[in-house]
Amino acid sequence: MLTINGKEYELNGKTVAEALAEIGYGGQRVAVELNESIVPRDQYDSTVLYEGDHLEVVRFVGGG
């Protein structure tokens, strides 16, 4: 189990990019923090998630 925005998911072993796609953030404008550290955008495909990880995803939508 790992948590994304406070909810638990079975996504151990997936990359950040795969996890984002599975929970509906595929192709969205986001920022991703993994265990309190930013995941650089060019590392979504190479960063693998492990048991107990805490992921926070912020989605950016237009308007301001």
């Binding site: 989605r59 950016f60 237009g62 308007g63 301001g64």
Partner: protein, 212 residues
């Protein structure tokens, strides 16, 4: 009517906010990136609160389509927003140290341009620019406090707009859903609710109240 002195204005703020909070506000510095519906409101709240040093950054000019929600006047149409808001802020807070940049923020210039203030407010309107600024700040300036806005378009309840603490230095305000690209308009009051969340979080950070 004579202009109140610096001391008179400071004392009036102290009476409202208390000595300790006003000391912190006066010593604080905030940069507002994008001064449209969110940013113009944020900057005005912070100037009124007596934040000591403010920087406003925008490359755009005041357009008639901005007047439904942005803090500009019809006679300012065509002016650079950075100049127009600078004038307004100077009238609200004549002793605030205000600086302005009429420039487009990019991954390349952000580390230099946003390095001078304690707190960064992301107040852009386009999602791709929000993503660029937030990711660049989190990657290149990780010690800064960052307050971002996402999701304030349309007529949904203003109660859906919240402040979320994402990580130790990063907060996002809005509903994170309502997208202007979905054909929702931007209603002044709902945008201002989000702007007030952002300005208030900046003030709470200055007061060393880091929770939400």
């Amino acid at each position: 009517m004579t202009m109140p002195t610096r001391e008179e204005m400071y004392r009036a703020l102290e009476e409202r906010h208390g000595k300790e909070l006003q000391r912190r506000l006066s010593a604080a510095s905030v940069v507002v990136c994008g001064i449209g519906g969110l940013g113009s409101n944020i900057a005005i709240h912070l100037a009124r609160a007596g934040v000591g040093r403010l920087r406003i950054i925008d490359f755009d000019r005041v357009d008639i389509s901005n007047l439904n929600r942005q803090q500009y006047f019809p006679e300012q149409l065509g002016m650079y927003k950075s100049d127009a808001l600078y004038d307004t802020l100077s009238r609200i807070a004549p002793y605030c140290d205000i600086s302005r940049n009429c420039v487009k923020l990019t991954e390349e210039n952000i580390p230099e341009l946003l390095n001078g203030e304690d707190i960064i407010c992301e107040a852009f309107d386009k999602a791709d620019q929000k993503e660029m600024l937030v990711n660049t700040v989190l990657e290149k300036l990780p010690d800064k406090f960052l307050v971002s806005g996402s999701g304030m378009a349309g007529l949904s309840s203003a109660n859906n707009i919240v402040t979320r603490k994402v990580t130790r230095h990063f907060y996002v305000c809005g509903d994170e859903v309502s997208d202007v690209a979905d054909g929702l308009g931007l209603i002044s009051a709902r945008v201002a609710v989000c702007a007030a969340h952002m300005a208030h979080m900046a003030i709470r950070i200055i007061a060393q109240e880091y929770d939400v």
